[in-house]
Subunit: 196 residues, 2 copies
Amino acid sequence: MTRASTPRASTFTASLPHWLENRPLPDVLATDEERMSLVHELADLNWRAGNGGPFAALVVDSATGELVAAGVNVVLASGLSSTHAEVVALSLAQTTLAGWDLGADRSLELVVNWRPCAMCYGATIWSGVRRLVIAGSGPECEELTGFDEGPMRDDWREQLEARGISVTSDVLRDGALRTFAEYGASASTVYNARRD
Amino acid sequence: MTRASTPRASTFTASLPHWLENRPLPDVLATDEERMSLVHELADLNWRAGNGGPFAALVVDSATGELVAAGVNVVLASGLSSTHAEVVALSLAQTTLAGWDLGADRSLELVVNWRPCAMCYGATIWSGVRRLVIAGSGPECEELTGFDEGPMRDDWREQLEARGISVTSDVLRDGALRTFAEYGASASTVYNARRD
Protein backbone atom coordinates (compact mmCIF):
# COMPACT_ATOMS: atom_id res chain seq x y z
CA MET A 1 0.00 0.00 0.00
CA THR A 2 1.27 3.47 -0.86
CA ARG A 3 0.03 6.74 0.45
CA ALA A 4 -0.69 7.95 -3.07
CA SER A 5 -3.35 5.30 -3.63
CA THR A 6 -4.87 5.29 -0.13
CA PRO A 7 -4.59 8.65 1.59
CA ARG A 8 -5.27 8.54 5.31
CA ALA A 9 -8.84 9.46 6.17
CA SER A 10 -9.31 12.67 8.16
CA THR A 11 -13.04 12.31 8.78
CA PHE A 12 -15.49 9.53 9.59
CA THR A 13 -19.26 9.45 9.34
CA ALA A 14 -22.04 7.13 10.43
CA SER A 15 -25.64 7.36 9.28
CA LEU A 16 -28.91 5.71 10.10
CA PRO A 17 -30.07 3.14 7.56
CA HIS A 18 -32.58 4.54 5.08
CA TRP A 19 -35.42 2.45 6.45
CA LEU A 20 -35.00 4.15 9.81
CA GLU A 21 -34.16 7.61 8.51
CA ASN A 22 -37.41 7.59 6.53
CA ARG A 23 -39.54 5.96 9.19
CA PRO A 24 -42.07 8.21 10.97
CA LEU A 25 -41.38 8.00 14.70
CA PRO A 26 -43.46 9.38 17.54
CA ASP A 27 -42.36 12.76 18.89
CA VAL A 28 -43.24 11.73 22.44
CA LEU A 29 -42.96 8.38 24.24
CA ALA A 30 -44.71 8.77 27.57
CA THR A 31 -43.77 5.58 29.45
CA ASP A 32 -40.78 3.29 29.83
CA GLU A 33 -42.80 0.57 28.14
CA GLU A 34 -43.60 2.74 25.10
CA ARG A 35 -39.93 3.61 24.81
CA MET A 36 -38.72 0.05 25.10
CA SER A 37 -41.38 -1.22 22.74
CA LEU A 38 -39.97 1.04 20.02
CA VAL A 39 -36.44 -0.12 20.87
CA HIS A 40 -37.45 -3.75 20.39
CA GLU A 41 -39.17 -2.97 17.10
CA LEU A 42 -36.12 -1.15 15.70
CA ALA A 43 -33.67 -3.78 16.98
CA ASP A 44 -35.61 -6.51 15.25
CA LEU A 45 -35.88 -4.60 11.98
CA ASN A 46 -32.18 -3.72 12.12
CA TRP A 47 -30.62 -7.14 12.09
CA ARG A 48 -33.10 -8.41 9.53
CA ALA A 49 -32.07 -5.53 7.25
CA GLY A 50 -28.41 -6.55 7.62
CA ASN A 51 -27.19 -3.24 9.04
CA GLY A 52 -25.67 -4.70 12.18
CA GLY A 53 -26.52 -6.49 15.40
CA PRO A 54 -29.97 -6.80 17.02
CA PHE A 55 -29.64 -3.66 19.10
CA ALA A 56 -31.38 -0.28 19.17
CA ALA A 57 -31.26 2.68 21.54
CA LEU A 58 -33.19 5.88 22.12
CA VAL A 59 -32.32 9.15 23.81
CA VAL A 60 -35.45 10.51 25.48
CA ASP A 61 -36.19 13.51 27.68
CA SER A 62 -37.08 11.93 31.02
CA ALA A 63 -39.51 14.68 31.97
CA THR A 64 -41.41 15.26 28.73
CA GLY A 65 -40.90 11.96 26.93
CA GLU A 66 -39.63 13.78 23.87
CA LEU A 67 -37.76 11.46 21.52
CA VAL A 68 -34.44 13.21 20.92
CA ALA A 69 -32.62 10.48 18.97
CA ALA A 70 -33.06 6.92 17.75
CA GLY A 71 -30.09 4.74 16.90
CA VAL A 72 -29.38 1.20 15.78
CA ASN A 73 -26.21 -0.83 15.52
CA VAL A 74 -24.65 -0.02 12.12
CA VAL A 75 -21.27 -1.75 12.46
CA LEU A 76 -21.74 -3.71 9.26
CA ALA A 77 -23.32 -0.85 7.29
CA SER A 78 -20.85 1.84 8.39
CA GLY A 79 -17.71 -0.29 8.62
CA LEU A 80 -17.00 1.29 12.01
CA SER A 81 -16.70 -1.08 14.98
CA SER A 82 -17.71 1.59 17.50
CA THR A 83 -21.12 2.28 15.95
CA HIS A 84 -23.13 0.26 18.42
CA ALA A 85 -26.71 1.41 18.93
CA GLU A 86 -25.88 3.37 22.07
CA VAL A 87 -22.98 5.30 20.51
CA VAL A 88 -25.13 6.06 17.46
CA ALA A 89 -28.09 7.29 19.52
CA LEU A 90 -25.92 9.37 21.85
CA SER A 91 -23.93 10.87 18.96
CA LEU A 92 -27.10 11.71 17.02
CA ALA A 93 -28.58 13.37 20.11
CA GLN A 94 -25.40 15.40 20.56
CA THR A 95 -25.52 16.38 16.89
CA THR A 96 -29.16 17.49 17.13
CA LEU A 97 -28.57 19.39 20.37
CA ALA A 98 -25.18 20.71 19.21
CA GLY A 99 -23.19 19.80 22.30
CA TRP A 100 -21.21 17.00 23.93
CA ASP A 101 -23.03 17.19 27.29
CA LEU A 102 -26.54 15.73 27.20
CA GLY A 103 -26.97 16.75 30.83
CA ALA A 104 -26.14 20.40 30.27
CA ASP A 105 -29.63 21.81 30.71
CA ARG A 106 -32.10 18.96 31.10
CA SER A 107 -32.30 15.30 32.10
CA LEU A 108 -32.01 12.91 29.20
CA GLU A 109 -32.01 9.12 29.36
CA LEU A 110 -30.70 6.26 27.25
CA VAL A 111 -33.14 3.43 26.57
CA VAL A 112 -31.58 0.25 25.16
CA ASN A 113 -32.50 -3.40 24.81
CA TRP A 114 -29.81 -4.82 27.13
CA ARG A 115 -27.05 -3.71 29.46
CA PRO A 116 -24.52 -1.82 27.33
CA CYS A 117 -21.28 -3.60 26.38
CA ALA A 118 -17.96 -2.55 27.91
CA MET A 119 -17.49 0.24 25.36
CA CYS A 120 -21.04 1.59 25.45
CA TYR A 121 -20.98 1.49 29.24
CA GLY A 122 -18.20 4.06 29.18
CA ALA A 123 -19.87 5.99 26.36
CA THR A 124 -23.01 6.25 28.48
CA ILE A 125 -21.08 7.74 31.38
CA TRP A 126 -19.32 10.35 29.23
CA SER A 127 -22.50 11.38 27.39
CA GLY A 128 -24.16 13.27 30.24
CA VAL A 129 -27.38 11.20 30.31
CA ARG A 130 -28.86 10.92 33.80
CA ARG A 131 -30.78 7.65 33.49
CA LEU A 132 -30.26 4.28 31.83
CA VAL A 133 -33.30 2.13 31.03
CA ILE A 134 -32.61 -1.46 29.96
CA ALA A 135 -34.65 -4.57 29.24
CA GLY A 136 -32.21 -6.76 31.17
CA SER A 137 -28.62 -7.38 32.18
CA GLY A 138 -27.91 -11.10 32.55
CA PRO A 139 -25.83 -13.50 30.44
CA GLU A 140 -28.81 -14.21 28.16
CA CYS A 141 -27.72 -11.66 25.55
CA GLU A 142 -24.32 -13.29 25.06
CA GLU A 143 -25.76 -16.79 25.25
CA LEU A 144 -28.49 -16.17 22.68
CA THR A 145 -26.63 -13.96 20.20
CA GLY A 146 -23.02 -15.15 20.39
CA PHE A 147 -21.73 -11.62 21.00
CA ASP A 148 -19.02 -10.92 23.57
CA GLU A 149 -20.13 -8.00 25.74
CA GLY A 150 -16.61 -7.42 27.04
CA PRO A 151 -15.07 -7.16 30.50
CA MET A 152 -17.49 -5.50 32.94
CA ARG A 153 -17.10 -4.83 36.65
CA ASP A 154 -19.46 -6.63 39.00
CA ASP A 155 -20.43 -3.27 40.50
CA TRP A 156 -21.22 -1.69 37.11
CA ARG A 157 -24.59 -0.44 38.34
CA GLU A 158 -23.21 1.16 41.51
CA GLN A 159 -20.51 2.86 39.44
CA LEU A 160 -23.20 4.46 37.28
CA GLU A 161 -25.23 5.57 40.29
CA ALA A 162 -22.09 7.08 41.83
CA ARG A 163 -21.81 9.23 38.69
CA GLY A 164 -25.39 10.44 38.86
CA ILE A 165 -26.91 7.95 36.40
CA SER A 166 -29.90 5.99 37.74
CA VAL A 167 -30.61 2.53 36.33
CA THR A 168 -34.02 0.98 35.62
CA SER A 169 -33.92 -2.65 34.49
CA ASP A 170 -36.27 -5.41 33.33
CA VAL A 171 -38.51 -3.23 31.17
CA LEU A 172 -40.17 -5.54 28.59
CA ARG A 173 -37.46 -8.13 29.18
CA ASP A 174 -39.17 -10.88 27.20
CA GLY A 175 -39.20 -8.75 24.06
CA ALA A 176 -35.41 -8.47 24.17
CA LEU A 177 -34.96 -12.20 24.65
CA ARG A 178 -37.25 -12.89 21.70
CA THR A 179 -35.18 -10.66 19.41
CA PHE A 180 -31.89 -12.18 20.58
CA ALA A 181 -33.17 -15.74 20.14
CA GLU A 182 -34.37 -15.09 16.60
CA TYR A 183 -31.09 -13.39 15.74
CA GLY A 184 -29.11 -16.27 17.22
CA ALA A 185 -31.08 -18.78 15.16
CA SER A 186 -30.24 -16.90 11.95
CA ALA A 187 -27.01 -17.00 9.93
CA SER A 188 -26.13 -13.36 10.63
CA THR A 189 -22.57 -12.13 11.00
CA VAL A 190 -21.27 -11.87 14.56
CA TYR A 191 -18.59 -9.17 14.27
CA ASN A 192 -16.57 -9.48 17.39
CA ALA A 193 -13.27 -9.71 19.15
CA ARG A 194 -11.08 -12.70 18.57
CA ARG A 195 -10.61 -15.26 21.29
CA ASP A 196 -7.12 -16.63 20.90
CA MET B 1 -38.44 22.60 21.13
CA THR B 2 -40.54 21.42 18.17
CA ARG B 3 -39.60 18.89 15.58
CA ALA B 4 -40.15 21.44 12.81
CA SER B 5 -37.32 23.64 14.09
CA THR B 6 -34.93 20.89 15.19
CA PRO B 7 -35.30 17.74 13.10
CA ARG B 8 -33.64 14.70 14.57
CA ALA B 9 -30.17 14.13 13.14
CA SER B 10 -29.71 10.97 11.09
CA THR B 11 -25.95 11.21 10.61
CA PHE B 12 -22.94 12.24 12.67
CA THR B 13 -19.43 13.13 11.61
CA ALA B 14 -16.11 13.75 13.30
CA SER B 15 -13.06 15.25 11.63
CA LEU B 16 -9.46 15.87 12.50
CA PRO B 17 -8.64 19.48 13.31
CA HIS B 18 -7.18 21.37 10.37
CA TRP B 19 -3.76 21.66 11.97
CA LEU B 20 -3.52 17.87 12.04
CA GLU B 21 -5.25 17.22 8.72
CA ASN B 22 -2.73 19.48 7.00
CA ARG B 23 0.31 18.31 8.95
CA PRO B 24 2.79 16.14 7.07
CA LEU B 25 3.22 12.92 9.02
CA PRO B 26 5.75 10.15 8.44
CA ASP B 27 4.53 7.19 6.40
CA VAL B 28 6.52 4.77 8.54
CA LEU B 29 7.32 4.77 12.26
CA ALA B 30 9.82 2.00 12.84
CA THR B 31 9.98 1.74 16.65
CA ASP B 32 7.64 1.99 19.63
CA GLU B 33 9.55 5.07 20.70
CA GLU B 34 9.11 6.80 17.33
CA ARG B 35 5.40 6.04 17.46
CA MET B 36 4.94 7.28 21.01
CA SER B 37 7.02 10.36 20.36
CA LEU B 38 4.55 11.40 17.65
CA VAL B 39 1.63 10.62 19.99
CA HIS B 40 3.07 12.93 22.64
CA GLU B 41 3.65 15.67 20.10
CA LEU B 42 0.07 15.51 18.79
CA ALA B 43 -1.46 15.25 22.28
CA ASP B 44 0.37 18.35 23.36
CA LEU B 45 -0.61 20.32 20.25
CA ASN B 46 -4.21 19.16 20.59
CA TRP B 47 -5.13 20.55 23.95
CA ARG B 48 -3.27 23.77 23.30
CA ALA B 49 -5.37 24.21 20.12
CA GLY B 50 -8.56 23.75 22.18
CA ASN B 51 -9.88 20.75 20.25
CA GLY B 52 -10.22 18.48 23.26
CA GLY B 53 -8.22 16.69 25.92
CA PRO B 54 -4.45 16.02 25.91
CA PHE B 55 -4.70 12.68 24.17
CA ALA B 56 -3.60 11.31 20.81
CA ALA B 57 -3.57 7.84 19.29
CA LEU B 58 -2.10 6.13 16.24
CA VAL B 59 -3.01 2.99 14.36
CA VAL B 60 0.18 1.42 13.04
CA ASP B 61 0.99 -1.77 11.16
CA SER B 62 3.01 -3.75 13.69
CA ALA B 63 5.10 -5.49 11.03
CA THR B 64 5.93 -2.65 8.65
CA GLY B 65 5.51 0.39 10.89
CA GLU B 66 3.13 1.95 8.37
CA LEU B 67 1.12 4.78 9.90
CA VAL B 68 -2.49 3.91 9.05
CA ALA B 69 -4.30 6.57 11.09
CA ALA B 70 -3.61 9.40 13.52
CA GLY B 71 -6.29 10.66 15.87
CA VAL B 72 -6.67 13.18 18.65
CA ASN B 73 -9.41 13.86 21.17
CA VAL B 74 -11.96 16.14 19.47
CA VAL B 75 -14.77 16.10 22.04
CA LEU B 76 -14.89 19.88 22.25
CA ALA B 77 -14.42 20.48 18.52
CA SER B 78 -16.92 17.84 17.35
CA GLY B 79 -19.46 18.13 20.15
CA LEU B 80 -19.45 14.33 20.41
CA SER B 81 -18.52 12.85 23.78
CA SER B 82 -17.31 9.58 22.26
CA THR B 83 -14.63 11.16 20.07
CA HIS B 84 -11.71 10.32 22.31
CA ALA B 85 -8.37 9.94 20.52
CA GLU B 86 -8.63 6.13 20.40
CA VAL B 87 -12.12 6.09 18.87
CA VAL B 88 -11.05 8.72 16.34
CA ALA B 89 -7.88 6.85 15.32
CA LEU B 90 -9.65 3.48 15.11
CA SER B 91 -12.57 4.94 13.15
CA LEU B 92 -10.27 6.74 10.73
CA ALA B 93 -8.29 3.53 10.19
CA GLN B 94 -11.51 1.65 9.50
CA THR B 95 -12.57 4.38 7.08
CA THR B 96 -9.26 4.25 5.22
CA LEU B 97 -9.24 0.45 5.11
CA ALA B 98 -13.00 0.24 4.43
CA GLY B 99 -13.87 -2.33 7.07
CA TRP B 100 -14.82 -2.73 10.70
CA ASP B 101 -12.19 -5.40 11.45
CA LEU B 102 -8.65 -4.05 11.71
CA GLY B 103 -7.42 -7.60 12.25
CA ALA B 104 -8.96 -8.99 9.08
CA ASP B 105 -5.78 -9.46 7.10
CA ARG B 106 -2.87 -8.01 9.04
CA SER B 107 -1.78 -7.09 12.56
CA LEU B 108 -2.45 -3.50 13.47
CA GLU B 109 -1.76 -1.83 16.81
CA LEU B 110 -3.11 1.11 18.76
CA VAL B 111 -0.51 3.47 20.23
CA VAL B 112 -1.84 5.92 22.82
CA ASN B 113 -0.46 8.12 25.58
CA TRP B 114 -2.14 6.34 28.52
CA ARG B 115 -4.26 3.33 29.30
CA PRO B 116 -7.59 3.84 27.47
CA CYS B 117 -10.60 4.97 29.51
CA ALA B 118 -13.50 2.59 30.17
CA MET B 119 -15.13 3.38 26.80
CA CYS B 120 -11.97 3.26 24.70
CA TYR B 121 -10.96 0.03 26.40
CA GLY B 122 -14.05 -1.62 24.92
CA ALA B 123 -13.56 0.18 21.60
CA THR B 124 -10.03 -1.24 21.41
CA ILE B 125 -11.33 -4.78 21.88
CA TRP B 126 -14.03 -4.46 19.20
CA SER B 127 -11.70 -2.83 16.66
CA GLY B 128 -9.66 -5.89 15.78
CA VAL B 129 -6.24 -4.44 16.70
CA ARG B 130 -3.81 -7.05 18.00
CA ARG B 131 -1.55 -4.91 20.17
CA LEU B 132 -1.92 -1.96 22.52
CA VAL B 133 1.10 0.26 23.21
CA ILE B 134 0.75 2.77 26.05
CA ALA B 135 2.99 5.21 27.86
CA GLY B 136 1.59 4.19 31.24
CA SER B 137 -1.44 3.00 33.19
CA GLY B 138 -1.38 4.31 36.74
CA PRO B 139 -3.51 6.95 38.51
CA GLU B 140 -1.20 9.74 37.34
CA CYS B 141 -3.38 10.60 34.34
CA GLU B 142 -6.46 11.23 36.48
CA GLU B 143 -4.45 12.97 39.18
CA LEU B 144 -2.69 15.34 36.82
CA THR B 145 -5.51 16.14 34.37
CA GLY B 146 -8.67 15.91 36.48
CA PHE B 147 -10.32 13.50 34.03
CA ASP B 148 -12.29 10.51 35.27
CA GLU B 149 -11.13 7.43 33.36
CA GLY B 150 -14.19 5.43 34.36
CA PRO B 151 -14.75 2.06 36.03
CA MET B 152 -12.05 -0.42 34.97
CA ARG B 153 -11.51 -3.99 36.06
CA ASP B 154 -8.33 -4.78 37.96
CA ASP B 155 -7.58 -7.52 35.42
CA TRP B 156 -8.01 -5.21 32.40
CA ARG B 157 -4.70 -6.31 30.92
CA GLU B 158 -5.40 -10.04 31.25
CA GLN B 159 -8.81 -9.51 29.65
CA LEU B 160 -7.13 -7.94 26.62
CA GLU B 161 -4.56 -10.74 26.36
CA ALA B 162 -7.38 -13.31 26.57
CA ARG B 163 -8.87 -11.67 23.48
CA GLY B 164 -5.63 -11.77 21.51
CA ILE B 165 -4.45 -8.22 22.22
CA SER B 166 -0.94 -7.94 23.64
CA VAL B 167 -0.05 -4.96 25.83
CA THR B 168 3.23 -3.03 25.93
CA SER B 169 3.43 -0.36 28.61
CA ASP B 170 5.79 2.35 29.86
CA VAL B 171 6.96 3.56 26.45
CA LEU B 172 8.21 7.14 26.90
CA ARG B 173 6.24 7.41 30.13
CA ASP B 174 7.79 10.72 31.19
CA GLY B 175 6.55 12.43 28.03
CA ALA B 176 2.95 11.56 28.88
CA LEU B 177 3.30 12.85 32.42
CA ARG B 178 4.77 16.10 31.15
CA THR B 179 1.79 16.68 28.81
CA PHE B 180 -0.73 15.84 31.54
CA ALA B 181 0.96 18.12 34.07
CA GLU B 182 1.00 21.07 31.67
CA TYR B 183 -2.62 20.47 30.76
CA GLY B 184 -3.61 20.24 34.41
CA ALA B 185 -1.88 23.53 35.17
CA SER B 186 -3.87 25.27 32.43
CA ALA B 187 -7.48 26.52 32.55
CA SER B 188 -8.72 24.02 29.95
CA THR B 189 -12.21 22.54 30.02
CA VAL B 190 -12.49 19.13 31.65
CA TYR B 191 -15.57 17.64 29.96
CA ASN B 192 -16.55 14.74 32.12
CA ALA B 193 -19.17 12.78 33.96
CA ARG B 194 -20.90 14.33 36.93
CA ARG B 195 -20.16 13.11 40.41
CA ASP B 196 -23.32 13.53 42.42
